[in-house]
Symmetry: C2
Subunit: 201 residues, 2 copies
């Protein structure tokens, strides 16, 4: 699979997508995070809830991505391995939905874990993480994964193509890192034979 | 003030705005509405909360609008009356932040109430309002003003320029109307002299 191809496809799809203001999007996402912080008992639950919301968005995104590519006459190359899949997610999906570049990096030896590197995070343009917040009952907010919705989106997208993953923010510019890095670990790849179990019941 | 001018300015500002996918924005807003429905006791409170969130976004939007126009070399015409102000909100603000056309209509005789007509609502592209919902403890969801954030945004924007208004969704495509109509009623215009009260304290 050619990297250039998928990069061009992602760029072309992004051009065709209906758009909203990135600032309004960032402010709306901020309002969502604020509501969730108000609702949940601790920061781990806040992070999980953001991931869960991302997951259900991710499931929709993959349909959009495939149908829009087809309509526009683009052929999404068959992914023969996780390296191909990672490139399609980074160069196709992230570009199409966020309009931002995303790089694949740090594949481990067995090819079952990799990182998505995001240099600019449109969600966080207005955000500073306070170390403590009265609104959150004085609890330390510094462990929040503010943009955890991305992790859920990636999990949802990959689940839709039968790849079960766990995604974690390992670097976050909001916490002082130089880039945003999402670690994607493949847990299971469901093969076509998975339906056999179902038949046995 | 020329209508063409402000329409062109709104269009030019929209072109310059950083963008996100309208679909991702709509899905994120949907997640926000869902969280709020889960949190609040009744639908009136849900509507108020959406309006309140819009209000704080509106206050930010007006700064963005003014600073971006200035940076881009556009002169926002002085609004001599509510008709001018309404045109700037509709043709400038709505276009800049949502990329959609918005019309001013139905000014009342004293010029203190008007409607903003929105034909396409990017927030509601994936939405159908159920008449009842188990998730909302069986209560009727049909009185939800799904896009009430707009009302808050308009209130926040106008408050920032010293005009106190109340905004209400009077027509909603989600409820079967042919257009979306937000009624804007001016309650008070704070003049420069308002500071005098402050001094007296």
């Amino acid at each position: 699979m050619s990297k250039t191809n998928i990069t061009a496809t992602g760029q072309a799809l992004w051009t065709k997508m209906p758009k909203a203001s990135a600032e309004l999007f960032a402010l709306t996402y901020g309002a969502l995070v604020t509501e969730i912080i108000r609702d949940y008992e601790n920061i781990n639950d806040v992070n999980s809830q953001l991931e869960k919301i991302g997951h259900s968005i991710g499931i929709r995104c993959v349909d959009e991505f495939l149908s829009k590519s087809e309509l526009a006459g683009f052929v999404i190359p068959t992914c023969k391995n996780m390296r191909d899949t990672a490139e399609v997610v980074a160069k196709g999906g992230f570009k199409m939905f966020l309009g931002i570049p995303c790089e694949v990096a740090n594949f481990n030896a067995d090819g079952k874990a990799f990182s998505l590197i995001i240099y600019e995070n449109p969600l966080s343009i207005f955000v500073e993480i306070p170390s403590t917040s009265e609104e959150f009952r004085g609890e330390d907010l510094s462990s929040i994964c503010y943009s955890n919705i991305y992790c859920g989106i990636v999990r949802g997208v990959l689940e839709s193509v039968n790849i079960k993953v766990i995604c974690t923010f390992v670097k976050d510019v909001l916490k002082g890192d130089d880039v945003n890095e999402i670690r994607v670990e493949v847990k299971e790849i469901l093969t076509d034979g998975a339906g056999d179990d179902y038949k046995e019941e």
